[in-house]
Amino acid sequence: MIKMEHVNIAYDTNEMVLKDINFSIKEGECIGLIGANGAGKSSLLKAMLGLIPYEGRIYVEDSLVEKKNLASVRKTLGFLFQNADEQMFMPTVYEDMAFGLLNMGLNKDEVEKRIDDVLKELRLDYLKKKYNHKLSIGEKRMAAIATILAMQPKVLLMDEPTSALDPKNRRLYIDMMNGLKMTKIITSHDLDMIYSCCERVIVLGNGKLQADGGKEDILRNKKVLEENHLELPLAFQRL
């Protein structure tokens, strides 16, 4: 589904953020991408989407991420921004969901139907006509994911999806994510959430890929986590 070969990412030409990243992801996998602040998690996601330049090769569904393939790559990938306010730039939830669909060339009735279907599935009907700037943080996060799902992506990229959510909203959100049966890549510091959502975990640190393996192997490995400025998930700390 997604393949990275010798990927380098640099800011301002001289400062290398990520060096020689290699991994591949199969369809239906759920990957937790973890690392300290500034480890390059968000940059890696943005490179996959063709938002920032990179060296090496990134393939999404066998097409190389480059200018001429961007439209199809971005149709395959759905990206959930860290900050829902930046993601949702239209006045209401409904218009926000319609924005991407209209750009896909759907007609009015199809747009209307897709919006209703997605909102119903996520049980968010009550948000449809709400103004984005009046939503609570929890509602904003849920609405943001609805705008992405309406476009029916095959892969969901989520940047820090549970940050700043209260425990109840976080729990609801995790349940919702687990209900989505598509390929997912989730970046976070919330390792408990990663543990309950993902099967496989990739650790980024010092500009390199430090570890890649099953969640049990990595999230219980104190040494790997601490070397990369992370800590064991709270669930294991009491052991």
Binding site: F81, E86, F89, M151
Partner: protein
């Protein structure tokens, strides 16, 4: 409460009002916009001494505010921005224009006094009419009306986007002001040493935010054209033609004369 916070509240109030459920909330935004603009033009066209002609125009806001369940008094509070200029420009009228136009009970009314009062009345009326428009029309509906008037798409999209980020930005200014005044309790405003950095910091953050928004737009297929969903509204012929005819009737100025004649 600081200024930014008050402004946020004011915007929220209007949003809530526009979300209402009266007859006026449901009719076509284009007809409301056109009637409002016509009203403004008619009121503005009244000559400076035409107090009674202008006063007749009060029928539109009074009746519509009753239908839309709005408070004339609440709306009047918004005069604070524009009233100073209107007064400044007209306050000297009574001194410059002393020709006596009327005698009411032995009290001479000079042209200056009449024109001063008439202009202030005009100011109140146009304010009421504009407020009526925004308090009964949601932003997306208003933008649709603007599009129907062939206002270029880029301007309408820009307006929608600005509106979307207005609240966020003001909340940020309000938080920053609070943080500032907590550490500088004696100051009334931003000290000169922080003139640049106060808004400058926010400006830099905003530029990064703009990049993120642009990314979000591109990821959802934006290629330079901003597509908007259009809704359909029931036509409002009675409201539209009814008021336009009334405005012409008011403006002709015979009506007041005629009614007054009955009583005198």
């Amino acid at each position: 409460m600081n200024k930014a916070e008050k402004a946020v509240i004011e915007i929220k109030q209007i949003d809530e009002l526009a979300d209402g459920n009266s007859y006026l909330h449901h009719i076509s935004p284009l007809s409301k916009l056109v009637v409002t603009l016509a009203y403004l033009l008619f009121v503005m066209s009244c000559p400076k001494y035409a107090f009674s002609t202008v006063l007749l125009f009060i029928l539109y806001p009074i009746s519509m505010y009753a239908i839309a369940d709005l408070s004339l008094w609440q709306a009047l509070k918004r005069m604070r921005f524009i009233l100073p200029l209107i007064i400044f420009v007209n306050i000297l009228n009574p001194f410059f224009d002393q020709q006596i136009l009327l005698q009411i009970g032995g009290f001479p009314l000079t042209g200056g006094i009449i024109s001063f009062i008439t202009t202030i009345l005009k100011g109140i009326l146009v304010l009421w009419a504009s407020y009526l428009l925004v308090a009964t029309t949601k932003m997306d509906a208003l933008c649709q009306a603007l599009r129907q008037l062939h206002i270029p798409k880029i301007l309408v999209s820009l307006f929608l986007l600005t509106y979307r980020y207005l609240g966020l930005m003001m909340e940020e200014v309000s938080r920053m002001s609070e943080a500032y005044y907590l550490r500088a309790p004696d100051q009334k405003g931003i000290h000169i040493s922080a003139w640049g950095s106060f808004l400058g910091q926010l400006l830099l953050r905003s530029m990064d935010r703009a990049t993120e928004i642009f990314h979000a737009m591109k990821l959802r297929g934006y290629i330079g054209e901003y597509r908007l969903m259009e809704k359909e509204y029931p036509p409002a012929y009675l409201y539209f033609f009814g008021w336009l005819c009334m405005f012409v009737l008011f403006r002709l100025g015979i009506l007041a004369e005629w009614i007054g004649g009955i009583f005198l």
